[in-house]
């Protein structure tokens, strides 16, 4: 399991926007980025889960990231994308407003996340980076997956095989 | 007990009297006996015979006593036995 702060000097992150807030995810965790597509609803799932998509034969659940971070949901537009994140061979898609870039961030620019004053549960933010004028919140996807019980670190074996 | 030239075959299952008889039989013939065999499917029932065989072996080590030389035996009645006798 990766520690909260990255070990090497410069790490690369995929950054994206939800409203005015910018977030980043370690590039190793990103499986792919796709344009918004048809999502099949699944009854009785948590509000922040929109449903499932067909990604070349695999059924992948999709999270409405805005709802997940207690923001209001919004209509998709041409910039809306789905980021497929992979943790321990489990894939989840996250709907984001706009994908920005792959940024190299110096370890020195990373600092501890604030304890309050943020939209989302600060457990999910592993660090905050200063990129020029902007502040990028680095997401700890493992904690995110765990919280949603998407992965169970003791039973990592079970969450695979027939999926892909 | 059967005698075949210089070879004797005995039944391991002997009473005390039979052991004493065997002892008396062997004593005078100790120089002529080359081998002591035991009957198939016979098992020891007394320490006396075992001791006698050891004694015979010690008296004249050249006598072949295959049963004794195995240093042990197993039977459903007595379990597994081990013995040593070399001097």
């Amino acid at each position: 399991m990766k520690p909260n702060l990255p070990q090497s000097k410069k790490e690369r992150y995929l950054t994206f926007f939800l409203g005015d807030e910018q977030y980043g995810i370690e590039i190793e965790r990103i499986k792919e980025i796709i344009a918004m597509m048809k999502i099949t609803g699944v009854p009785k799932i948590p509000k922040f889960m929109r449903g499932v998509i067909n990604l070349r034969g695999s059924i992948i659940p999709v999270v409405d990231t805005r709802l997940r971070f207690a923001m209001e949901s919004r209509e998709a537009d041409m910039h809306t994308a789905i980021i497929i994140v992979e943790v321990e061979k489990v894939n989840i898609g996250f709907i984001v407003d706009r994908v920005e870039e792959v940024a190299s961030i110096d370890k020195a620019s990373l600092s501890e996340p604030p304890k309050f004053g943020s939209y989302i549960d600060t457990d999910f933010i592993s660090a905050v980076a200063q990129m020029g004028e902007n502040v990028v919140m680095i997401l700890d996807v493992i904690k995110l997956f765990e919280a949603d019980e998407i992965i169970d670190l003791e039973q990592i074996q079970n969450s695979n095989t027939s999926d892909a | 007990m059967q005698i075949n030239g210089d070879e004797v075959t005995i039944d391991l299952n002997m009473s005390m009297d039979e052991v004493i008889n065997f002892e008396e039989f062997i004593r005078p013939r100790i120089e002529y006996i080359e081998k002591i065999e035991v009957e198939e499917n016979s098992t020891l029932t007394s320490g006396a015979l075992l001791s006698l065989l050891v004694s015979i072996k010690k008296t004249r080590p050249e006598i072949e006593i295959p049963f004794l030389e195995k240093m042990g035996s197993t039977s459903p009645v007595h379990g597994t036995l081990h013995w040593t006798y070399h001097d």
Binding site: - | S51, F67, V77, G79
Partner: protein, 705 residues
């Protein structure tokens, strides 16, 4: 993995297969103990095990098979015919081999009791056959050293004492290793006086008495002080000491009792504390899968069926393939099928009116289907092996219950998905045991007076039927008394009094958990024990069990399974613009009801009267909270399905057709929804959710059971 680990993994796998084959062969051999070729096969298997087990440090297994091999070798070279109880020993030995292997692989210190017992018996038998007693622990051959010592007579006594002490220590350690709960380990030193014979005591007599109370007995005779013949006297005891190591359930005082008439100085008993080892629980021991699961492999054969028959005239050419690779291939083919479907159905492409394009698309379709079928068949194996295992079960249960049984097997060539076979064994065994134990009459006389042969008949059948595989176990015994079952079920509150149950529903009651714990119901004694577990196991495989019975004639249990776990035959339905799949296995019929037969009961919901039966109507839009404009039942389609709780009618907007689809799991986060058992990707790329009909309940929460 290091090379060594790789080799070890391969050994484990092969060893597992050898043991499986031994299992089958030994039963065949028991039936026909003159088959020398079969004996040779068995010998070869054990021989291979021996060679490899020691190489990998499985010394306990090695030790056992070494002697087992000797015994087999004896019989195959002398061609002597084997006595019945010795045949039993063979069968037992194969069991022990399997048990020991498990212990070795799971690094379990404590071997099962049967290991020592069986090994002992083998050695005894070998002794008798070869007339060459073999001590359990082989003493080091120090003949030369001893001769030299004899020459110099130097400290020989001490040396020998040490030596025998070592042997005793070794013996104690060994017994500690096989010691189980309830057994005590004692070391007894007997030092009988020289006049002991005259007092009526002999070491052997004590050994015999102890032998009656023990599972393992070993003694060490110290014969050093025996004189040569000139001084020797047979009737005087000259064996100075005998050390006895014994494993027995008896307590100290009971052991002491044996020697009560000896002088105190003539004996001493010491209780040896058991070795403290990490005890692995039964559950861990039972993970038999550890036998061969570093990488599970399946034998892929050139032809469709795989065979372990030792009578095969032509060796089939086979290769070993990782099941993982087959699964991946299967997945890729699934995607191929979907993509190909898309092209075939695409409007745009269809509108291109080109002869050659259309023909090619057709060809593509056909080839894809062929590839799919062939890849599917890679996963299919004949049920033969599982049935062979059942022969053993029948034999054992027959012996245990004392009932004569004739086993008929049909359709053993029928193929079934490999992944299902492993989970099928246990339920089958349970059903067969039940059939023999409770289905068949308790004695031949009862049968004969009923006009049947004294020998009971169990029929094991496998066959394909409408896209499923059916495995049935039939007995020609007493049958199930419907009325009794119903009465008991009502008494236990499993069903209510005025339920209208069909025969098969009544029989199915014996598989309810409430039923299994029922007390003895005379001729139904115990029937139903564990059947609820069987039912759950089969349902996990997405199958079902049907029971049919005629009193006085017999009972048939039918296990119906889908051909493969990965594909489901389903009926596509549409509600509120969403597509769902209802497994065809559960579908009874579908229809558009007439207005007259639809009834609404205040507070209870909608019902449809289908030929006298009142079936609750379930609207998917209600169950799933969908946004749907409400249509009346008579404007919609009702799909009547059979569920655990009885029949229900699912109300849908439209029927879209019937299709075989590949099942995809929804992932952990979504699989908590019990009404949905998975997802499937349709030809057009859309996702359809597969309904778990047993979990569908009408709003008013009405259920039969």
């Amino acid at each position: 993995m290091t090379k060594q680990e790789e080799l070890k993994a391969i050994f484990i796998e092969e060893a597992g297969e050898i043991v499986e084959k031994l299992d089958v062969d030994i039963i065949r051999f028991e039936e026909n103990s003159n088959d020398l070729e079969l004996l040779n096969e068995i010998f070869r298997g054990v021989h291979t095990l021996k060679g490899n087990s020691n190489a990998f440090g499985f010394t306990r297994l090695g030790e056992f098979v070494h002697h087992f091999e000797d015994l087999l070798d004896y019989y195959r070279s002398t061609k002597e015919s084997i006595e019945e109880n010795n045949l039993e020993l063979f069968v037992e030995s194969v069991d022990v081999v399997r048990e020991v292997m498990r212990c070795e692989l799971d690094s379990i210190e404590i071997l099962p009791k049967s290991y020592a017992e069986c090994l002992e018996k083998i050695k005894i038998l070998l002794d008798i056959k070869k007339n060459r007693p073999k001590p359990v622990i082989e003493q080091k051959s120090e003949e030369t050293l001893k001769d030299l010592a004899f020459e110099f007579a130097l400290d020989t006594l001490d040396e020998q004492e040490d030596e025998q002490r070592d042997e005793v220590e070794k013996s104690i350690k060994f017994h500690q290793s096989i010691q189980t709960d309830g057994l005590n380990l004692y070391k007894i030193d007997l030092t009988l006086d020289s006049d002991s014979y005259k007092r009526g005591f002999d070491y052997f007599v004590f050994l015999k008495i102890l032998g009656e109370r023990t599972t393992h007995l070993e003694s060490f005779f110290d014969m050093q002080n025996i004189q040569t013949l000139d001084e020797f006297k047979s009737d005087e005891n000259s064996i100075t000491k005998v050390t006895i190591v014994i494993l027995t359930p008896f307590v100290y005082t009971e052991v002491e009792e044996v020697f009560e008439f000896l002088f105190d100085h003539e004996y001493s008993i010491a209780l040896i504390a058991p070795l403290v080892v990490e005890q692995k629980t039964q559950a861990e021991v039972k993970s038999i899968s550890s036998l061969s699961k570093t990488s599970e492999t399946v034998e892929s054969t050139a032809s469709k069926t795989s065979t372990t028959s030792s009578n095969a005239n032509m060796p089939k050419s086979t290769i070993r393939i990782d099941t993982f690779k087959v699964d991946e291939l299967f997945d890729s083919v699934g995607e191929l099928v979907i993509a190909q479907n898309f092209i075939a159905q695409s409007e745009k492409i269809r509108s291109i009116e080109d002869e050659s394009i259309n023909r090619t698309i057709e060809t593509l379709s056909k080839i894809t289907k062929k590839i799919q079928d062939r890849v599917m068949s890679l996963r299919m194996v004949a049920i033969k092996d599982t049935f062979e295992k059942m022969k053993r079960v029948v034999r054992d249960t027959s012996k245990k219950t004392g009932k004569e049984i004739h086993l008929i097997i049909q359709g053993e060539e029928t193929e079934i998905d490999k992944t299902m076979i492993d989970n099928l064994s246990d339920p089958l065994i349970h059903i067969i045991r039940n059939a023999i134990d409770h289905g068949l009459e308790s004695c031949g006389d009862e049968r004969v007076s009923a006009g049947k042969d004294a020998e009971g008949v169990i029929t094991l059948k496998a066959f394909h039927k409408s896209g499923n595989i059916v495995i049935s176990v039939s007995d020609d015994g007493r049958g199930i008394n419907k009325d009794r079952v119903l009465k008991k079920a009502i008494e236990r509150g499993v069903v209510s009094e005025n339920e209208n149950l069909t025969d098969s529903q009544i029989f199915a009651l014996i598989m309810q958990p409430g039923f299994s714990t029922a007390e003895v119901i005379s001729d139904l004694s115990g029937r139903g024990v564990g059947l609820d577990v069987v039912k759950t196991s089969i349902e996990k495989l997405r199958g079902k069990i049907e029971i049919d019975s005629k009193e006085g004639q017999g009972t048939t249990f039918s296990i119906i399974l889908p051909l493969t776990l990965a594909i489901i035959d389903g009926m596509l339905v549409q509600t509120a613009d969403e597509t769902y799949i209802i497994p065809t296995l559960s579908v009874v019929e579908s229809f558009r009801p007439q207005r007259e037969i639809v009834h609404i009961f205040k507070g209870k919901g909608e019902f449809v009267n289908l030929r006298g039966e009142c079936i609750p109507i379930i609207r998917l839009s209600d169950v799933f909270d969908l946004n749907a404009k409400k249509i009346e039942a008579w404007d919609a389609i009702l799909v009547c399905v059979e569920t655990e709780a009885g029949r229900i009618a699912i109300l849908v907007d439209e029927l879209l057709g019937r299709q075989q689809v590949v099942i995809k799991t929804l992932g952990k986060s979504l699989s908590k929804l019990k009404e949905i058992s998975g997802g499937a990707i349709l030809g057009n790329g859309d996702i359809a959710l597969i309904l778990n009909v047993d979990e569908l309940r009408p709003l008013g929460e009405i259920s039969h059971v």
